[in-house]
Symmetry: C2
Subunit: 224 residues, 2 copies
């Protein structure tokens, strides 16, 4: 009995370690989103390069979490809620990595247009707001992973609603007869909007997995 | 000993069942991609609706595979390669579901422009080719899941290279000075290109997971 208790304790320590790593990765994603936006709005190629080259660190951190999770599954053979938690962690790390990739896509659009800015001044406020919403959501997800607070996780859906609204607003600007910035800028803004929207979708999805880990129930799915 | 053998046999039968379901879902995704493209190129709103409403079946099939995989993990507690195979199946089903979502996005662009066509005649050949490449890749993935053939899986990367090239070509068209179809069509074509490209990325990723299941080694990662 004592041995079983010690094993369970070791299991939960290792699981906490994995969630700690997930929160760390989420912190790296937050930097990636922030710096990608900075490079986009300033046209600074060095910052864009920094985001692009730092992505490998997120990829490596993902591999480490995957290795730890597999080791945990193999050695401890968890069942029921413990099993679901480890599998949820594996999914969360995939989504966080994907959010890093999407930040790289933003940085690459910034780099492509240097020394110009990809985003015309007229739509900068919308793109800035989308970026701010995305960054805030990623920041909140870090905390949600650490605290496993279900209310905070569920509240993230409202931030995502603002993102959807901003996306619609950006399309209205692009497709209005007043648009005078040409096709290239329109395509850039449409794709940037898509990337920020996907970052937000993944943030909600990661938060939903935390809800699932804590409650055993799945909130609404996100399929942007 | 006999009991262990019987358990392992039951495990492998259930695992085969999961892979059979994955191939079935891949078949549904193939239909979704084909019909979404048909609605796009014909401007047929009914076909677009069909794709959009059929997506719930793919979502439900994903849930069933997830439930089976969790049951298998809980009851049989596989280790080593068996464990990795079940977890790979969980990831594959997420990617297949996502490919269904992306087909829905294509169908929604088609529906939005009815009674017009979203794609101007000048770029129809490129979009048609992208769609054909995506559909062919999804079709091959179905077979790869069934046969678990590593060579076929690795060969899929070449199809993905054609997709990347088509994407660049579509951008060259959009951004050329000859583009006379306006901003809306340009944004539609750019997003459609993105959706087909992502379907192809996911197809490669699913194929890579099959390689991993068979060989225990990860081929190059896809992060489009």
């Amino acid at each position: 009995m004592l041995r079983v208790c010690a094993m369970r304790e070791a299991f939960h320590e290792q699981l906490d370690g994995i969630f700690h790593d997930l929160a760390d990765i989420c912190g790296s994603v937050e930097s990636a989103v922030r710096l990608a936006t900075e490079s986009l709005l300033s046209g600074d190629a060095d910052i864009a390069e920094q985001v692009i080259s730092a992505d490998v660190d997120i990829d490596r951190a993902r591999e480490r979490v995957e290795d730890s999770a597999f080791l945990l599954l193999s050695l401890q053979q968890p069942v029921a809620s413990d099993l679901r938690t480890v599998v949820a962690a594996l999914r969360m790390v995939s989504e966080l990595e994907r959010m890093g990739d999407l930040s790289v896509h933003v940085a690459k659009i910034a780099r492509l247009r240097v020394p110009n800015l990809a985003v015309p001044a007229a739509v900068q406020p919308i793109i800035e707001r989308m970026a701010a919403v995305a960054e805030d959501m990623v920041c909140r997800v870090s905390k949600i992973i650490t605290d496993r607070n279900v209310d905070d996780a569920l509240a993230l859906v409202h931030a995502d609603e603002e993102m959807d609204q901003l996306r619609r607003q950006s399309f209205a600007e692009l497709l209005s007869t007043d648009w005078s910035h040409g096709v290239e800028a329109a395509v850039d803004v449409a794709l940037l909007g898509r990337y920020y929207e996907r970052i937000a979708d993944h943030a909600v999805s990661v938060a939903n997995r935390v809800v699932f880990v804590v409650t055993g129930e799945n909130p609404r799915s996100v399929d942007g």
